[in-house]
Subunit: 158 residues, 2 copies
């Protein structure tokens, strides 16, 4: 009878956590717009409401909220982690020039894993899929387009 199934549960007794003001504001800001911010972006957002919060607190709460299943930590590509206020599985699109991330407007393709059935020695338990391209703004930027053209042959390979 462990709390081993972290879906979006509202069951708030299993672990002892306190919904502190910091934690609540972090969650609210993360869910306000789905911009998938980095920790420091979120820190700046939260700081407008809680000027004395520390970056360490932001990181600690992001880790805790992830463990609670309230949010997702996206460790996909690039150097910085991004955080997603929506805990349900979904794919993302990322602009390879400015880093903007949006949710991909398609449902998870669970059948993708069928392609590996019997073909691998691994026990497959999930997958990640991320689409890459240019966001609307960067699509209009000549420099960004040139960058993408030469970056993607290498970048797009997985």
């Amino acid at each position: 009878m462990q709390n081993r199934n972290p879906t979006t549960s509202e069951t708030k007794q299993p672990a002892k956590f306190r919904m502190t003001r910091q934690r609540r504001v972090i969650l609210e800001e993360l869910r306000k717009e789905n911009i998938h911010p980095t920790a420091d972006m979120l820190y700046e957002m939260v700081r407008k409401r809680l000027p004395h919060i520390s970056l360490g607190t932001v990181y600690r709460n992001l880790e805790l909220l992830t463990a609670m299943g309230e949010i997702q930590t996206l460790e996909i590509s690039g150097s910085q982690k991004r955080y997603d206020g929506i805990p349900q599985k979904h794919y993302h699109i990322r602009c390879i020039y400015c880093g903007r991330m949006d949710d991909a407007p398609i449902a998870p393709l669970n059948s993708l894993e069928d392609n590996l059935y019997g073909a691998t020695v691994y026990t497959i338990m999930g997958h990640r899929l991320e689409f890459l391209g240019l966001c609307p703004e960067c699509s209009l930027n000549e420099t960004a387009r040139r960058f993408a053209e030469q970056a993607l042959p290498a970048e797009a390979a997985l």
Copy 2:
């Protein structure tokens, strides 16, 4: 002695690369077995043949070889980058417990991006797909299985 004196100085000479011993050994070790090592793993491998090589040289060559299109830098999940001696597009499978990575035995699914046509404001130019699971060794490890069970609901979401 290639002196063309006049007019537009568009001297955009492609950089000259020297296949130094360090660079060659790095490439050889990376391609010897397709283990997708991290920089420090590769450093240790290379050090057995070139004991005085520096980690900085390994990083610099990995970056250069990537720019040359000889290898791939995988910025997928987790904290450390991994390097792939095969420059062609292909997917990967990763063990979420020990980090082992293998090539996925399926061809790139280019039609995946069709799902987004007309549904996004982005200019889609590529995608990444990574399968997650347990490698054969970790599949036999009870601790690893417990870890995967509780990690993947959060981890597998994208």
